[in-house]
């Protein structure tokens, strides 16, 4: 047996490295766009197949339009990889009445007039037929709002959080008198909503199917009818693809890709960031940006009974008049769903319309139920303020 000089030390080092890897689960950090850990071969295959659908570029002949915001999912959800954010800004519009008109709701989502999503682009055929370059917003709208592109990393985990957990955080009448209400939104069939900036949409599958229809003008078996042009049916001859323009199988695969995307791994905590985590709780930020949610049962083991560092309660909160814009379902113009902070370090802009360019600016723009936390932030000594911002930049 030949023993090389230093061989013993090398073995010890390798052993130590092995122990360290074991302690960290032998895992490299997940990168944006990676699938959840622990997928079965079949689930991983669906994820990969779904990414192909997500990355597809559609044309009018394959279903695009006639009204659309993007020619594929990845045209908007592109930064830093498929599933991420993007620089597109959408137009949404609704009508909110301080007093409900006779026989009608206070909030009109303008669903009968093409709303609430008003597409920024039209196909050449629709342009020729109507002479428009985008969908006109009807005069009935009381608010037209900008909406930025959210990343969809970790959305499968949010989908798997049981209603009961979300409702446990709700305090619509502020019975504990902490100034934080937390109201559930409901879809039109009464189910609890959770997706979208106003928490209107109950499930991820509907969020995705609805996006094919509203963002790309692509009909699916679940949403088989085209958008109207502000309430007027699209002219004959402007939509060459037969409905549904996307098969159930392809819609399901696209959903699988989004559902199985891992949440972004938080960055390594510095000592300052660790202190900032305490400041976050001390200021009351965690009352709405609940650090951890727990998923319930799921047919996908990687989604079942998992903790997700979402930093949201998925409920509506009044954010004050300066941020107010649309109503949607039960959400009044000033109410927004607590934005999940997971993946915050990947975001180039903040708040629902991107008006804040830094997390600090976003905090400054909080109002309503968050006004007290904002004021406490103002009053922080510079060191604690820096610590809080350092913490946020790790999320």
């Amino acid at each position: 047996m030949t023993v090389r000089p230093g061989g013993g030390r090398a073995i010890v080092c390798s052993f130590a490295a092995a122990i360290m890897l074991a302690a960290t689960g032998c895992r490299r950090p997940l990168k944006p766009g990676d699938p959840l850990r622990g997928l079965s071969a079949s689930e991983r295959n669906r994820f990969d197949q779904g990414k192909l659908v997500f990355d597809s570029v559609f044309t009018p002949e394959t279903g695009l339009g006639p009204l659309f915001n993007a020619n594929g999912c990845a045209e908007c959800h592109e930064d830093p990889v498929a599933g991420g954010t993007g620089d597109e800004v959408e137009r949404h519009a609704t009508a909110f009445h301080q007093v409900a008109p006779a026989g009608a709701r206070q909030c009109d989502e303008l669903a009968g007039q093409g709303g609430p999503v008003y597409q920024n682009h039209v196909t050449a055929a629709l342009h020729t037929a109507l002479g428009i370059d985008s969908e006109p917003v009807p005069a009935a709208a009381t608010a037209i709002a900008a909406r930025t592109i959210p990343d969809v990393f970790g959305f499968g985990l949010l989908d798997a959080v049981p209603d009961s957990e979300i409702l446990a955080y709700a305090d619509p009448d502020d019975r504990n008198h902490d100034g934080i209400s937390g109201r559930p939104n409901r879809f039109f069939d009464g189910r609890l909503g959770r997706f979208g900036r106003k928490a209107l949409v109950p499930t991820l599958r509907e969020f995705n199917d609805g996006a094919f229809a509203a963002e790309q003008g692509i009909t699916t078996p679940a949403s088989p009818t085209e958008e109207t042009v502000a309430g007027t049916p699209i002219p004959a001859g402007t939509d060459p693809a037969p409905d549904p323009e996307l098969t159930e199988q392809r819609a399901e695969l696209a959903d699988a890709f989004v559902r199985l995307l891992a949440p972004p791994a938080p960055l390594k905590f510095s000592r300052e960031a660790r202190e900032g985590s305490d400041v976050f709780k001390h200021l009351g930020c965690a009352n709405c940006h609940v650090p951890t949610l727990t998923t319930g049962d799921s047919p996908v083991a990687a989604l079942r009974h998992k903790q997700v560092a979402a930093y949201t309660d998925l409920l509506l909160h009044d954010m004050g008049p300066d941020l107010g814009d649309l109503c949607l379902g039960l959400a009044t113009p000033t109410e927004f769903r607590t934005e999940p902070l997971m993946g915050l370090h990947l975001m180039p802009q903040f708040l629902h319309d991107g008006r804040a360019k830094t997390p600090e600016e976003a905090i400054e723009l909080h109002g309503g139920e968050a006004a007290r936390s904002r004021d406490l932030f103002h009053a922080l000594p510079p060191g604690e303020r820096a610590a809080l911002l350092a913490f946020l930049k790790t999320l």
Binding site: R186, D189, F195, A222, S223
Partner: protein
Amino acid sequence: MFRLVLSSLLVAVAPTLAASQQAPHDSVRGAVRVVDARARTLEVTTGVGMALRVVRLQVPAAVPVTTSSAGSDQLALSDLKPGDVVRVTFGNRTGALVAYTIERIGRMATGVIPSP
């Protein structure tokens, strides 16, 4: 195929597309958007995700309006309020959607009750 799609629903049916159908029986679950008891019309908001649709229905006087919360008690059309969650079966007659049955199953409300 199209009938299968409609039957699968989740979904609203845009009147123009539905008008081309001969499906005798479809259903929709959504929230009352507008109810006009005098004109006997009902509009229901529904949809998938952010792709929202409105189904506009005529409601003949003989159409049963019931509620699931109190057995099968009979309601008047005028008892329905905007924001009520309803399940409606309907068909297409001479280009218009006509309700066959209307069941009130809950209400869009912000409380912490489970979904209906």
